[in-house]
Amino acid sequence: METTDPKHLYDTQQAQMNILAFWFLIGAEVVVFGCLFGIYLAVKSFTGDGPGPEELFKLNEIMVSTVILLSSSFTCALAIYFLNLTKKAWTLLFFLITIVLGLGFIGLEIREFTLYVGEGASISTSAFLGAFYMLLGTHGVHVLFGVTWIALLLVQLWLRGINQETAPKLFIASLYWHFIDVVWVMIFTVVYLIGKV
């Protein structure tokens, strides 16, 4: 197994450029989600014959999702902490926990959506619901992508160990994961909490 001095894990020019590029991608994603929030806020009151946010959301269950996603962000940060110490087993473990929590979040979200659709609140019921599903769906797809991505990287980590090639990749994936969490904090606040105010 190949290990490198932790200080030099991200020192290659390519790694530095990849990380910087990813920050600009995050800048782009801020606009993407900002616009989705804009759409949602614009049509929030256009509930038509369907339910509004007040009747629809079950805050207790959303709270569970939120805690799960926040925890996954924490375990992800821990994984990166161990990555920087080049402790492979711990890194693997905490990333695995992150993946499991992410999958749990997706499961809860799917459950939530099927529940709503069962209550007659589908994507074409009203403009509010359309925007809601678009915003939440885009975020959900991001989570799903993140889970798959991290899983693939873990296979590489397992096979190749911690080195200058795998470490920056995992670090970038962790940035992505935290960003998803940031978006969720906004969704939780703007959609769910303020929806209930």
Binding site: M63, A77, T189
Partner: protein, 90 residues
């Protein structure tokens, strides 16, 4: 080793603080403890604090080339904010 312990403590404290903020916000909404306009401002304030913690503690935004990273985020937020404002005013 001391430095590592400190690091772990830093991460854990950030996490606990975020969970706390979420819980407080949740309770405030659940029991309608504050009147709506102030509550909304407070909730958004809480969210912004959490985002800042994520960026600072978990995403190391202040590390090398922090200026570029901030620029990217601020640019994106600026465009997003304009979009949101105009769409709300619709």
């Amino acid at each position: 080793m001391n430095k590592q312990k400190k690091e772990i403590r830093k991460l854990s404290l950030s996490f606990i603080f975020m969970i706390l903020l979420t819980a407080v916000a949740f309770i405030l909404v659940l029991y309608h403890l504050i009147s709506p306009p102030y509550l909304i401002i407070l909730l958004i304030f809480f969210a912004l604090i959490q985002i800042f913690i994520q960026l600072d503690r978990f995403m190391d935004i202040r590390e090398k080339e922090g200026t570029y990273r901030f620029t990217s985020l601020i640019g994106g937020s600026f465009v997003a904010l304009l979009a949101i404002i105009l769409l709300i005013l619709l």
